[in-house]
Amino acid sequence: MEYIKPFKRILLVGCNECVTVCAAGGRKEVGLLASGLHMAVLKSGATIEIREHTLERQCDPEYVEELVPMIDGVEAVMSMACGCGVQEIARRFKNKPVFPALNTKFMGASERQGVWSERCQGCGDCLLGMTGGICPIARCAKQLMNGPCGGSTGGHCEIGEDTDCAWALIWERLKALGQIERYVEITPAKDWRPGGGSGPRKIIREDLAE
């Protein structure tokens, strides 16, 4: 709200990829937010015009080009994509303020309808091969790499009953896989460089990059 206060015409941009799938920034949520913002502004005694548009993918510049005909009519853009989309729009339209409408939190999977849980932190040095396909970095509250802490109770984490103990899961899985020896090996201290420890990351696929 604070972001858009000074503006009379804004463009609310959704993204039809990940944020649609997780019901955070697709066409529907764009509609809901547009209505909500409109009402909030009306209520504060001001007026605002909110245009809605949903791109196929906000993190690809070609799709972002779709906004060109619309961009001049608005004073600011609000993006309902993940942080990537927000930044892509900012990159493309240098003189328009762009605001994030979402707080991008994590990479996750659907546990069931409407429930998403974190699965990966993009650490860049995948342990999954050692841990039965369950990531202790993303899913253990303490990122323990060598087994559960003393707070593991009945399969859940000490931080709360609705969080599974990653290590309890790993252990079950290793047992089922007959890979108990994987547990006994000590996982050495992790090299965090691929995980963002050495600043913003970049991946270049030589075969695809031009």
């Binding site: 529907k28 509609g31 809901l32 209505s35 909500g36 409109h38 009402m39 909030a40 009306l42 209520k43 005694g45 007026t47």
Partner: protein
């Protein structure tokens, strides 16, 4: 906003609530004309967006009326609707609208009296609450526009 007459949108499921509304008609039960019914096949069809849009257009109250719990003709559309109404209520609160302007009610097809009763109660409640701030803002804007036109 003197003599405030609220406008209330009732999204009614075809099988129960809409039928109950017809039943109220055939029993000649009167209720306030403020309630306008939009028919949907199931209360589970009522989109959060449609509820929010109704408020954005100036509705003073909205309710979603479905079948009694366990009676949904599509298994559990009414339960979904109830959850959705709950979440839209929170959203409305965030925006600064009273969540009580939105309700979920259930009734069976035979409950004409209940339909009339709900319509009456809802109208009374909203009347007491006064116009929705959006309704006021829109009306204010419109009156300004009218003034401008006169000049």
């Amino acid at each position: 906003m003197e003599n405030f007459e609220p406008v209330i949108v009732a999204f009614c499921c075809h099988y129960c609530a809409y039928t109950a509304a017809d039943m109220a008609g055939s029993q000649r039960l009167t209720y306030p004309a403020n309630v306008k019914i939009i028919r949907v096949p199931c209360s589970g069809k009522v989109d959060a967006l449609h509820i929010v849009k109704a408020f954005e257009k100036g509705a003073d109250g909205v309710y979603v009326a479905g079948c009694l719990e366990g009676d949904c003709h599509f298994k559990n559309g009414n339960v979904r609707a109830a959850r959705r109404v709950e979440s839209v209520r929170k959203y409305l609160e965030e925006i600064g609208l009273e969540g009580e302007r939105l309700e979920m009610v259930t009734m069976s097809a035979g409950m004409g009296y209940r339909f009339a009763q709900v319509a009456t109660e809802m109208t009374e409640k909203i009347r007491k609450m006064g116009p929705s701030p959006i309704h006021l803002a829109l009306a204010g804007g419109a009156s300004e526009a009218r003034k401008a036109a006169n000049i």
